[in-house]
Symmetry: C3
Subunit: 137 residues, 3 copies
Amino acid sequence: MTVFRKSFDLDTREHEQIVDITERVARVVAESGILAGICSVFAAHATAAVTINENADPNIGVDFLAALGKMVRDHDGWLHDRVDDNAAAHVKSALVGPSETIPIEGGRLALGTWQNVFFCEFDGPRKGRRVVVTVLG
Amino acid sequence: MTVFRKSFDLDTREHEQIVDITERVARVVAESGILAGICSVFAAHATAAVTINENADPNIGVDFLAALGKMVRDHDGWLHDRVDDNAAAHVKSALVGPSETIPIEGGRLALGTWQNVFFCEFDGPRKGRRVVVTVLG
Amino acid sequence: MTVFRKSFDLDTREHEQIVDITERVARVVAESGILAGICSVFAAHATAAVTINENADPNIGVDFLAALGKMVRDHDGWLHDRVDDNAAAHVKSALVGPSETIPIEGGRLALGTWQNVFFCEFDGPRKGRRVVVTVLG
């Protein structure tokens, strides 16, 4: 059994943005040489998150951000807005969560046909958002 | 340390449905022979998810689907509905997430007394929904 | 590769409460002696959850609970309320989820600067809430 870890950084350009990181995660898995196991993807930020969904139609990411915007309204009396005007971003981050775990099969991410890995930016634009990929197998 | 992976398929009968997969996941853990470690449960679909909750009262699953239906309304101006009329299912899938990780103790899932593993169907009925169970330990 | 597992219990004092468990999780990681790998944190309850966010301003936890309260209203026609008057707590638990997976780097939790690990109580106060920490690496 081996552990292989690699981080990568990304810059976001919008206040809220879905970034498809499937290729970057897949490259770490390939580099690890691990054939069977799991891959943990972790966003090291309290105003970002990781999730998995379809990107064949990039509007799914747009709809996801819009839906979160309806669930968690900006400046809806949040106490943290008095300190740093981004409470809604923190709430969305905690709700979606920073980690996803994906099986590895035959040296590749065992994602379904319509699954891509998304980094979710809720408080951008920001430089140097860090994603930690850990492969065990 | 060993890796043991096994997938199983299930058919859903309703448009939205909670399927209790605890027994099927537990069988994979027993078959793995692994005594201590973790078990990753992964739904390989972009309109489904995995979560954990009580099934002693099956109405909890009904309430969960109803609550998601209030949070993410059908046809609420979603862009993806123009392509494939199931945007709300994708949003719910991304929100709940496809993966859960459960500890293994004494060769069994270390779930709490009231915890069951749920496959969540958001765009059924469908045949051949795949769940990937990976046991490491 | 080693597996190290340790559980700890905590008591909650409020009906809904965020408990910062970062220190307790970090102590398990230190005790494990594992230098590289992953740490799985699991709440063994169907009316609680684990998430990760900032605690420099504890009001973020307050805002998170308030936001969940807007998304999932108490006694909003939930069927489980007829059995046990805590359906909203179950829905929040299933939504946030009981598990998070955190990378281990240099023998420590590789959390971002603003990330803390939160135990979320949705149906307290309760004694003996159990958190299972499993370290693999």
